[in-house]
Amino acid sequence: MKKYIYFLALGSILSGLATGVVSCSKLIDEPQKSAYAPTNVDEKAGNWKTYVLAAPTDIAIAEPKSISSAEYQAEVASLKQKATNLTSDQQAAVTYWGAGAAYRWNEIGRELCARYNIPPASTPDGKYPVPDATNPLADPKFPFANPPYASRALAYLSVAQYDALVSAWYYKYKYNRVAPAKTDAALKPLLPVSTLPSYPSEDAVVATASVVILKAMFPGEVPYLEAKLAEHRNSRLWAGMNVESDLAAGEALGSAVAAKVMTRARADGMSAANNQTVTAGMIQAAKDRGLAEVWVSQESPARPPMLPNYGAVQTWNFDKTTLIKLRPGPPPVLNDANYEKDMNELRQVNKSQTRDQARIANYWSDGAGSYTPPGHWHRTAANTAHDAQYSEVRMARTLALVGTATMDAAVGCWDAKYYYYYPRPQQFGMKTSVGLPNFPSYPSGHSTFSAAAATVLSAIFPDKASEFAAEASEASVSRVYGLIHYRFDSNAGLEHGNKIGAYAVERAKADGSGL
């Protein structure tokens, strides 16, 4: 009998454990964003300054049928039908897209950057194949969405959203067709309705503009993007927010504006950004200026440097002459006292990195497989603007300012990196806890991106200026703690980024939005 007591004891331990295990939830509480009626609908945004459009009327949008017309009445009747008896999936779609059109499409843009941010693998003959835009899903996938690529993809995404919304606002207040729910009390919309006129639909404008840009930037994702587009469109019907003609006009406007934005993109010099033939001249010039040891790839086999000609890509908020004028001064001569001071700091971290240094390095690493530092700052911008309950057009403006500033930072930083061609600390024996980027060291890209973005965000949200500055400074020093930058790289990048961000702020002050 005694043996069965053990058996029973074991049985109860096991069942107790099983209960404990099952009751331990493994759900992940991701922060959820919900819908809001904007604190200010920005009625005058139709006159705000655009980036690519010459005028909000560049694309003509026909006058809608009046709310008393039979056609409109029929649309509202159809809407009432679509907006009833929703499935839980349909309700989930309404909630998801209700967080904001520009907000969600920016998030989708960041997601695609992360999914495509993997450096190509080397082939058995020691070469690195170049991703092919005409065969985007082959190995290596196109694009390699590294930080400069991501900065550009997100900048064009936000600019297209913004220009299209400015034009949409112009027509909204020109035609003043109110939201369907205001024409029929029997229609119960699932999202907050503001005073904003609903023709053309701002959601349709943002969705179609975004899809045009993202299809061009991520050509392997056409089915994914079209599914998102369809869901977004349907969510406006399920929510009872837009009639068909609101959506159709928005789609026509969004796609036409984005096509104009893509015309600029195709001619901005990106196609030559990976021109590897320019490096020989850059290396020679850096040596001629006295650099004793130039940057060399630390990967095996040696990988061609990332986008050596990206510094020649067209900027947004200043011209080429200004770009050269803003370029940071030279880094310390290798092995001089300033160099040694910062190198000694790295030797110390290399020997005994603290857990807190590792934490900071990891938090800001934004390396392979992430949405990169430009994505990190877009996320901060989108969340801050969402918390401030910005209108769609002001949300897009915020993202466009941050987006153009971070792309300008990428261009300026890449220009400086390849001008100086300065070696990474790994050429002098340092390890890294975050992974080593494959391009010259000075100045630090993280620092330039972060300072540019923080400068813009501080101007838009002055109450949070000290937070943004602290974040930029932590992002900057994270690269020292991760051992891939000397402190002088980080400091020069911060200073450079602040100057670059200031040009976007100057534009913001004069864009008619009342900043």
Binding site: K3, Y6, F7, A9, L10, G11, I13, L14, L17, A18, G20, V21, C24, K26, L27, I28, D29, E30, P31, E107, R110, E111, A114, R115, I118, P119, P120, A121, S122, D139, P140, K141, Q298, E299, S300, P301, N350, S352, Q353, R355, A358, R359, N362, Y363, S365, A368, G369, S370, Y371, H376, R379, Q426, M430, K431, T432, S433, G435, L436, L483
Partner: protein
Amino acid sequence: MKTSLTFLIVAALLTPFAAKAQMPHDAIYMGKKQLCVAGMYGYSSWNQYWENSFKRENFNIGTLTTQSVMVMPAYGISKRVNVILSLPYVWTSASAGNLMGQRGVQDISAWLKVKALVVGGFSLHGIVGASIPIGSYVPDFMPMSIGMQCRTATARLLANYKHTPTGLYVTAHGSYGWRSNIKIDRDAYQADDRVYNVNQVRMPNVYDAAVRLGVLRKGWQTEVFAERSACLDGDNIRRNDMPFPTNNMQSTLVGWYGKFQPRHIGVNARVGYVVDGMNVGQSTSYTVGVLYQINFNK
């Protein structure tokens, strides 16, 4: 640091340790009020790994080496109920590239082993275990990380048949392991083909199963074994990307284990080789230990 490490290893090897060594995966028990302390050193390395199911090398890692020293006491509450504890210190290094090696105290584990049923040479055992991280190591700097930072709970059923006259035995076990979610330093990461905008990471649960065939005599033991361990779900390492804690890691390992314990002091050794896997390194591992047994009945 190097000096203190050497000291630890030497200390681990020299300290007197137990003999009737037993593990959470065998049918050996300490008698009542018997304590066996094992001090073990482990060395494991790989120069090829499975990226998803694609086997490859990585010139920017070269050979990845993981070493550990571990203290593992086992105590007999009764001759049918034993408790086993273990606490390893782990350090990693890569022979190529520039990824920084990691080191630190890893997770403490506790096992309760119960001989539930004995019928002739056949016995059935229930084993439950749990572990909690002790060190604050970084879990997602893979493959350099020394651990995963998750709490675990394991339930294991083990069956053993021993032919007493010869000492020949065969053992089989199967376990289910629950793993807690973990927190990482970043507040965004990619897993399951999407981006999570949060610092919590859902960890897949695991199972393992093993069969062992060996001889256990008064002063010695030798056995060959095969072990299969795998996650129940999880994602795969993306093309040319680094591994991540959410990966569905699977491995099949074969090995040999032996123990020699003429008196209360003994030694043991283990060799393992991963023959197949997914999202893991094809490692070869060696463990040597010193065992010391104390009888508190005297």
